[in-house]
């Protein structure tokens, strides 16, 4: 596909998405709208990991650390200020600073691949333990009690900027969340077209070569990581806005694993894939709980295994390949047979080889 065709397809897709966000409140009932609001907030999280992993080559097992910190930062600030505007800003700044510190620690220590994954996972587990145990009266920030395992209920939701009296209705919350998702997607697309984005991809492909060309891979990776942390933190604020609640399970191992699952299912190395994967899996999980005939774990486990075996590349790249294959029969045959040799083509970053 030529670059111009690709670009125009992307523009069309974004326009379609904008229209979808705009008409959604009319098309579906309130419950479904709120469910989509939730999915969109989690898709922001998916997008953040999809970006740093798929384009920065940073496999972070603990992206939910930034999501959770953003959520807590928002909740604490919103309760204290009573206005969501500074709270949203804090939900971006606090995780970004945390990512800066953590990223400096690991990248400038030249820690890579699976060790990086373990450090981020461990940080998440520490946060989980610490937030879990902060249940007493002593754990208060301003007027906000952190609440330990029970979390913080009844957090004020978004209001119009600097106008705490006009709290957003569910429809408006949807516009904010869905709109933010599209805006972040476009923003990341633009970044990837910028010099910084190109260098980031170069670093992912070959760190040594990039540094020989005069770039500092550590600084580039740190930049990507901080950006990912900031986006995940903002996702956390959107998440709290949906449920008016935050608890330490936001740092749990199962959510960390879920994010990776979204990306694997949607397709690594794409930006749309993580969003698609997130919507599909979250929808599946909520549907599974509505049935009473099978154990929920059983169903979800079986679905994941089937996915890995049948669609090793994830949905979006597979569909893209099928489309391209339909156009050009002469494409290199990348079979879907499960025992096909692992094909580490250039477009597929590898976490920890």
């Amino acid at each position: 596909m030529s670059a111009s065709v690709k670009l125009s397809l992307q523009v069309v897709a974004i326009l379609v998405a904008c229209v979808a966000v705009a008409v959604m409140p009319v098309a579906v009932d309130l419950f479904q709208l709120m469910q989509f609001t939730l999915f969109a907030s989690m898709a922001v999280l998916a997008l953040s990991l999809g970006f740093i992993w798929g384009f920065g080559g940073i496999l972070c097992f603990g992206q939910t650390a930034f999501f959770g910190l953003g959520a807590y930062a928002y909740a604490v600030a919103a309760i204290n200020f009573g206005d969501s505007t500074p709270a949203i800003l804090l939900a971006i700044i606090v995780p970004a600073l945390f990512a800066l510190a953590l990223g400096y620690f690991v990248f400038y220590g030249r820690i890579s691949d699976v060790y990086l994954g373990v450090i981020t996972l461990t940080v998440t587990l520490i946060l989980f333990n610490v937030f879990n145990s902060m249940a007493g009266d002593a754990y208060k920030i301003g007027t906000a009690r952190l609440g330990g395992f029970n979390g913080m209920p009844a957090v004020p939701t978004f209001n119009m900027p600097f106008d705490p009296s006009s709290v957003l209705f569910p429809e408006q919350s949807w516009y904010v969340t869905g709109g933010a998702l599209i805006a972040i997607y476009i923003g990341l697309r633009l970044i990837l077209r910028s010099p910084f984005g190109r260098v980031a991809i170069a670093v992912r492909e070959n760190e040594t070569r990039a540094s020989l060309l005069g770039y500092d891979p550590r600084a580039i990776k740190l930049g990507v990581f901080v950006l990912g942390g900031a986006i995940a933190g903002f996702g956390g604020a959107l998440y709290v806005n949906w449920g008016a609640f935050v608890g330490p399970t936001i740092f749990s191992l199962s959510l960390s694993a879920e994010i990776i699952i979204w990306i694997c299912i949607g397709g690594l190395g794409t930006l749309i894939g993580p969003i698609v994967g997130c919507f599909i899996i979250e929808y599946l999980i909520s549907q599974i709980g509505s049935q009473q005939s099978f154990n929920s774990n059983l169903v979800l486990g079986a679905i994941l295994i089937v996915f890995v075996l049948l669609l090793p590349k994830g949905l979006v790249p597979t569909i893209r390949l099928l489309l391209e294959g339909a156009g050009r029969l002469a494409t290199k045959g990348r079979g879907q047979a499960p025992n096909a040799a692992p094909d580490l083509s250039a477009g597929q970053p590898v976490g920890a080889e």
Binding site: G148, P153, Q292
Partner: protein
């Protein structure tokens, strides 16, 4: 300035919720033959499923019985049960689904306090009556919510003096490291001191701790007369086993506010559970006709059922209390049912007479003190009609009907 802003925010939020409410009920078209919809949110998979699965059976049994007796107001009941998979986020999702999509008339459910606090605001906001049928740390004060399980003033207050009488004045407290454990540990400390005892140490454990070796050594160094335990969940059962393996079982007795809530006495070895004290609102071994009948019915329909504890009995009684309220109100309108429930509704269930306390929306119910013998609870004492005095000290919904928070009760030890 900030304060007036915030209170303004609160009033506008309530106002907008009030505006939203009529819009919802006008969309709700019902004829008299339509079923009354009962929502239920309980964990049927994941870490908390061991509690949730038997609670679901109580719900299904209660609904079936009410339907067999002709339903309520001439309409059948329909159960909307969702498996929340021990996941707080799914609680919020399904709460919205029940309130907005299924438009249920009442919701029973929630197991951990965290799950209750996640869904309670949703039901307040969308005006759905909510019943929480689990023993917990106390303090919820919300006109839309009824809590039918026991609170520490109903059980811990009885358990601690009894165990002290049987052992001695020095206790060592072990509790799960979250809100329930921390608050229960405070109540234990208070009742120890009220009865002239002394607490040597209070240790908290995250829910995934499985190795209690260091703790057992610490306890041995402290030499208490009594262990008070509020340990929670499958991993913490390891403590009782390692305690017995170290040969401490016969030396220092244990009293627990949580042991036996699922079916611990029958899963651990008889030696491990022998002699442990517990105090709950219900035991399967109770000999009353209502209790035997209840146990027979559940075991007949679900032969696999492990143990029928207070959780299961309170779920069943919670459903019936609501049904009594609907009958008295002659309507399923939320406000009318709440007013009927506040008029002093009571129900004679498996645990005995259960009466709703209008001030706190908690229950005045019997408490039973028991000791494990040969893998069964041996009921030693019965305390009739114990009031929820802990919550009553902070909450009066008749005077302050707009209250909707969970108070942290200031425990003066």
């Amino acid at each position: 300035m900030t304060i007036s802003r915030r209170s303004f925010l609160k009033t506008t939020m309530t106002a907008s919720a009030a505006l939203a409410a009529p819009a919802i009920s006008t969309r709700y078209a019902f004829g008299s033959e339509d079923p009354i919809k009962v929502g239920s949110l309980l964990d049927q998979s994941g870490a908390i499923a061991s509690s949730g699965v038997t609670m679901v059976t109580a719900m299904q049994q209660g609904i079936a019985e009410i339907n067999a007796a002709g339903g309520l107001l001439g309409r059948p009941l329909k159960l909307f049960q969702y498996d929340t998979q021990s996941n707080i986020q799914l609680y919020s999702q399904y709460a919205q689904q029940l309130a907005l999509k299924d438009r249920v008339d009442v919701v029973h459910g929630g197991i951990t306090s965290a799950s209750r606090e996640a869904i309670r605001p949703t039901f307040d906001r969308f005006r759905v009556l909510y019943f929480y049928n689990v023993l917990y740390e106390g303090g919820v004060c919300d006109r839309d919510t009824f809590c039918t399980g026991t609170t520490p003033a109903q059980t811990v207050e009885k358990l601690v003096p009894y165990a002290m009488k049987k052992s001695g004045k020095k206790a060592y407290i072990l509790a799960a490291d979250y809100n329930y454990g921390q608050i229960t540990a405070k109540w234990m400390t208070k009742y120890m001191r009220d009865n002239g005892g002394e607490v040597l140490s209070v240790d908290f454990f995250p829910l995934d701790v499985t190795n209690f070796g260091p703790t057992i050594s610490k306890i041995q160094a402290a030499k208490p007369d009594l262990i008070l335990s509020a340990l929670v969940g499958g991993n913490h059962v390891s403590f009782y086993r390692q305690w017995e393996a170290a040969g401490m079982k016969d030396q220092i007795p244990i009293a627990s506010t949580t042991f036996g809530l699922v079916n611990e006495p029958s899963t651990v070895d008889a030696k491990v559970s022998e002699g442990i004290y517990g105090c709950y609102g219900y035991f399967e071994e109770l000999e009353t006709p209502e209790s035997k009948d209840f146990v027979d019915k559940l075991k007949k329909r679900w032969p696999q059922i492990p143990y029928i504890s207070e959780l299961t009995a309170a779920t069943y009684e919670g459903l019936y209390l609501w049904a009594e309220g609907v009958k008295k109100a002659g309507s399923i309108d939320r406000m009318k049912v709440i007013e009927a429930l506040e008029s002093g509704i009571s129900f004679k269930g498996p645990s005995g007479e259960v009466k709703l306390d209008p001030d706190t929306h908690h229950t005045i119910r019997n408490a039973y003190l028991a000791q494990v013998h040969d893998r069964k609870w041996n009921v030693l004492e019965t305390f009739k009609a114990v009031p929820p005095s802990d919550t009553a000290s902070v909450c009066n919904l008749i005077k302050n009907p707009r209250d909707n928070q969970q108070y942290v009760i200031d425990i003066k030890a």
